[in-house]
Symmetry: C2
Subunit: 456 residues, 2 copies
């Protein structure tokens, strides 16, 4: 391994030409979406009413390991990709660890995160289908920004339902989405039936991704030539995010880097699923023994404290049912600053792999996350997004274990984005007003009580 | 030229090992600094009291065309460099121009701009000299952030005098500087004699770089083991920023790109001077005929409406005298959003080259700058800093001229940074409350009246 460069950039020729479809290599597939009305698997026709046709086709594809990235999307990717695989030399030195630490940095585009990888694809397919407008939700604001960027590029109208607490914590997120021409509505709002219902039941709520999804879906269903797009959780989003894993794999092969541990933060699971995809495919077939760790906040612990059950994707209980690790669609996460990780459920693919023992999960506390983030910023330069800093925190923990044992492990983690729009969070850490939120068992039981009572 | 990649990244081996010292190749040198007390050129000993010794040596070096970048600074550079030279394919398409447009993008680090190039160097030399603290000024906040990052890396205390209007427009800038451990004081402040004097005379002033410099210098002079560092204007800052030009030159040679026009925004002149350095050196010696354009805001037009005269670098009239294009140290620029361009003077090197006819200058209006910035963001993805968008606006104008004439010129401009901390400005553009500020001749006369009455 020796002296890898500080930053590995693939050339355009080396950039992946395909997405990696994990479902085509899994030994057992995740349970398909269930239509809550019929309790049968959703058909493509049913899904086409909510999502773009090409995305539904990708969502249901369980056979093609590689799915070709259309030339137009590759052109968009070239505008802001490849993202660098960075050797964290300064962090290694700071920790005095024998471990080698690498991070795949997705924050170098204006959306500030990996979310643009799927936005670029989804809006392309929407345009191809002749749609004129899209709706979506956003938590931290990264997905909303990414989608606004893609919609500006393809000239499509966009309405973004933004989790209210995030909209308040991040006023400039709204401004940047609007600069790209997107319309921002804090959620829950009174612009939808489901929003009015949620507001009536919880007048003071700061909202959640689950609520925002319900609102955005309602509007998409009621508007001509409009569809809903989602930034995480779904299989086609993980598929698009596999560009992260594919680039990482190619960079690792180029410099003979052999990861022992791959770590990602996990909210809906798209970044984590995308980062690990090709490595996990190899592991499933016995070609490596990499340890995969999904990191979530203690405040929203779907993998580590949730149930593997059928649940709705949204608080309004309007989506198809998905079998996933979940805290219940009615779980209201506390206003932790990692807005992108405040989702009650987890990608069905990641959930299945976790249940089958292919990956591990852990949860970390907000204050320790910001301590790690600040340390990283000061020694490596880059200010991480709170979400990304969850993976960072766990990478540091693993590197410190290596220091104790003397093991020279190779650790790769996903640094999914930058914290430039999260300064309110950093301010509350700096002035010591930040606290931790750990749900009690009673809090969790309230969420579980909202799980649908379904026998299949 | 044909099909250059979207983004050109140099490999570590290709990265410059030297800075390019323009003064060593200029046919006539800029007039040296003058001590206002003796009216004789400043000696190294005099300058050493304010600046680090090594920086003074670089400031006065007129003989070495290449100055070696110390290994430690090269290691720092590798953390966030090389910066990409980007082919603006989407902008070309949007403008329907035969011109080829490239931009050197310096915004991929957390400081959000090129400023880190000199911060990394200056703090290294301060550490080497055994200093324990530094003071500086910041306008847009980019220099302050860059310096805070470098000070965190080298473990040196930092006080940042931030132009008050910028501090108010950009609350999160303060937060990010503090996250890196820097102390922020809005200027003018009552922490210094000069600050109290300025406040007494102009109680409502939003401040200026000139004021902030005076305050930071006063503190540095009065504090043990402390020096003042400056983010622009001075020759050694241009020297450090020549890393931009050197990388651009190497990337152009690698892909046989032959610029016809090179454009940069110019506040103090460091980015512009650094970008053009090696190309200008060749032009001076007849090896190319590139058109160089420095772009400034109409609200602070030092090159286009200023005088070439001896002036102080700061409002408090405490610096050595520099011969430069200036609006007078007492000129109070209107609160235009491009904080980094609100300086009364211009780098003595850039001023001399301009006076000798080697480069052109133009000024652009704020509203047109934001129109260009928004268009660029929507088609190229990246949200530019208001400062950088001045160069962008002029690049677009030149590309549109090519469209009229059918000329296939190669245009390179410096995109010095991102606008992530300038969303207040974008908000005022979006909601149409932004206005233009064009100083009247009377405004200018007031500034000129503060020029020192010195005969040499």
């Amino acid at each position: 391994m020796a002296n890898t460069p500080y930053k590995i950039y693939l050339t355009e020729d080396e950039m992946p030409k395909n997405w990696y479809n994990l479902k085509a290599v899994m030994k057992e597939l995740p349970t398909p979406f269930i239509n809550p009305a019929t309790l049968k698997p959703c058909t493509a026709e049913e899904l086409d009413q909510v999502f773009c046709n090409d995305l539904v086709e990708q969502e249901l594809n369980t056979t093609d390991k590689y799915i070709k990235i259309p030339e137009e999307i590759r052109a968009f990717y070239k505008m802001y990709r490849p993202s660098p695989l960075v050797r964290a030399y300064c962090l290694e030195k700071q920790l005095d660890t024998p471990a080698e630490i690498y991070y795949k940095f997705e924050g170098s585009n204006t959306s500030g995160s990996h979310k643009l990888n799927s936005a670029a694809a989804q809006v392309y397919y929407a345009k191809k289908q002749g749609l004129t407008s899209l709706t979506t939700e956003t938590g931290a604001g990264q997905w909303g920004t990414a989608l606004a960027m893609a919609c500006a590029y393809y000239n499509i109208n966009l309405s973004v339902y933004m989790v209210k607490v995030s909209a308040e914590q991040k006023p400039y997120r709204k401004a940047v989405i609007e600069t790209y021409g997107g319309k921002v509505i804090p959620s829950p709002s009174n612009t939808t039936e489901v929003g009015r219902k949620i507001l009536a039941e919880n007048p003071g709520t700061g909202g959640s991704l689950g609520c925002a999804i319900s609102e955005a879906m309602e509007v998409a269903m009621k508007t001509d030539n409009c569809r809903y797009v989602l930034g995480s959780v779904l299989d086609h989003v993980l598929l698009h995010q596999s560009i992260i894993g594919e680039e990482t794999r190619i960079a690792c092969e180029k410099y003979d880097i052999k990861p022992d541990i791959i770590i990602g933060c996990a909210g809906g699971g798209s970044n984590f699923g995308g980062l690990i995809a090709p490595f996990m495919g190899d592991k499933i077939h016995g070609q490596n023994n990499i340890q995969f760790i999904a990191v979530e906040p203690v405040s929203c612990p779907s993998l580590t404290r949730g149930k593997y059950a059928f649940d709705f994707g949204d608080t309004g209980q309007t989506t198809p049912l998905m079998k996933m690790y979940t805290l219940g669609a009615g779980f209201m996460p506390s206003p932790n600053h990692a807005g992108g990780l405040r989702y009650h459920g987890m990608s069905p693919i990641v959930s299945k792999l976790y249940d089958d023992g292919y990956l591990e999960a852990c949860s970390v506390e907000q204050l320790k996350v910001f301590e790690a983030a600040t340390m990283f910023a000061r020694c490596e330069g880059t200010l991480p997004a709170p979400e990304s800093a969850h993976a960072l925190k766990t990478a540091i923990d693993e590197a410190l274990k290596c220091k104790e044992t003397g093991e020279k492990k190779t650790i790769v983690f996903g640094l999914t984005g930058t914290g430039y729009f999260d300064l309110t969070a950093y301010m509350s850490y700096n002035d010591a007003t930040m606290t931790d939120y750990i749900p009690t068992n009673e809090d969790l039981e309230k969420g579980f009580a909202t799980l649908p009572n379904i026998k299949l």
